[in-house]
């Protein structure tokens, strides 16, 4: 038989001596797994995207105002919707450029979402600007192919996220129940 108290593992862990320099190097490497440090050139690229986002916001605002009454209502609406998304692109890019860090778990999905909206708006522009000819039809079709591909991709991602969120809620309830039964058990024991 081996007799060991439940906290033996904790006491053993405390006995492990770590070299601070090696620990620091490891922590930097682990941190690098979650975020990418940007070099000066990369930061300037994000500055460029910030300016691009701002320019987009100006163009979409102007297009929304100019197209009001000239185009079908949905065309104007999509241009107007494009403004906050362009500002969000500019905001996100400015934040990345300012901090010099790209969070690998959160930034790429956000950028993908914003790019999807940009594609929707570009397809709208194709639809509005397309000439009434076979060339115009081709422009529309190529735009629609991109739109459908990205929409399927985004939809699959959304469905997966919704499924995970439902599971998370159920697990939260299960955790609360386990916590409650644990507390009841402890109060009965005492």
């Amino acid at each position: 038989m081996t007799q060991f108290s439940p906290d033996l593992s904790e006491r053993l862990l405390r006995c492990e001596i770590e070299t601070p320099a090696l620990r620091e190097k490891y922590e930097k490497e682990v941190q690098a797994m979650f975020e990418k440090r940007l070099g000066p050139a990369q930061r300037w690229m994000w500055v460029f995207w910030t300016l691009f986002g701002l320019a987009q916001a100006i163009v979409f605002s102007w297009a929304a105002v100019a197209s009001f009454g000239q185009l079908p209502g949905w065309g104007t609406l999509i241009f107007a919707i494009g403004v906050p998304f362009a500002l969000a692109t500019a905001g996100l890019s400015a934040w990345i450029a300012y901090t010099g860090r790209l969070l690998l778990k959160t930034h790429p999905p956000a950028i993908a979402g914003l790019m999807w909206v940009l594609i929707v708006i570009l397809v709208t522009i194709f639809m509005v600007a397309a000439p009434d000819s076979i060339v115009g039809l081709r422009m529309l079709l190529s735009g629609l192919i991109f739109l459908v591909m990205v929409a399927v991709f985004m939809l699959a991602g959304r469905t997966e996220q919704a499924e995970l969120r439902t599971k998370e809620k159920l697990l939260e309830i299960e955790y609360r129940l386990a916590d409650l039964s644990d507390r009841i058990g402890q109060s009965h024991g005492s």
Partner: protein
């Protein structure tokens, strides 16, 4: 935390990691890094190598976390990934005695049937020192046994051997540990 609550907690944390929650992932690493480091440190000679192995372990864990379905097997899975990474690291750097031992064939020693005298483990520092003097096979099973309170079946899964071999290794490892602790006194 009882076993059921702990299991639900890990499931919840894994799910949040799978959803791309960076804070959950950092929490997950924080919760496991000390135990995994302790285990890996018992498998490799140099501390710098242990940190390298741990970092590579996290890279594999983060990459494969999406595919993990059953959190009941989470400790088993994590220790298995760490063990395989340590073996790969040893293979890439050198074929030292540790590597040879971790790769050793599944030789089951006969299990002694005489009852074991009690082994009191009050002095964690003495146990920690004694562990480093054991053979790597004995050290590994005892570390898993002490660290995580894993079952024989789970330890066998991690080490990739039969339950009988683990029982036998644990038996001889306890004997060796007792002898070392007595010498230490």
């Amino acid at each position: 935390m009882n076993r059921e609550k702990e299991s639900v907690y890990w499931q919840l944390l894994i799910l949040r990691c799978q959803r791309g929650d960076a804070a959950a992932l950092q929490e997950f690493v924080r919760c496991w890094e000390k135990r995994l480091f302790y285990y890996v440190r018992r498998l490799v000679d140099q501390e710098a190598d242990a940190w390298d192995v741990l970092q590579k372990t996290w890279m594999k864990v983060v990459r494969d976390l999406k595919a993990l379905k059953y959190s009941q097997s989470l400790p088993c899975w994590l220790y298995t990934v760490a063990r395989n990474t340590a073996i790969d690291h040893q293979r890439a750097t050198h074929c030292g005695p540790h590597y040879q031992s971790l790769q050793s064939a599944d030789i089951e020693q006969p299990l002694c049937t005489t009852p074991e005298p009690e082994l009191a483990l009050d002095d964690a520092e003495a146990v920690h020192r004694a562990l480093s003097q054991l053979s790597v096979d004995h050290r590994e099973v005892l570390t898993l046994f002490f660290l995580q309170d894993l079952s024989i079946k789970e330890i066998a899964q991690i080490v990739g051997t039969s339950e009988g071999t683990i029982k036998s290794r644990l038996h001889y490892a306890r004997h060796a540990l007792r002898r070392l602790l007595q010498e230490d006194k």
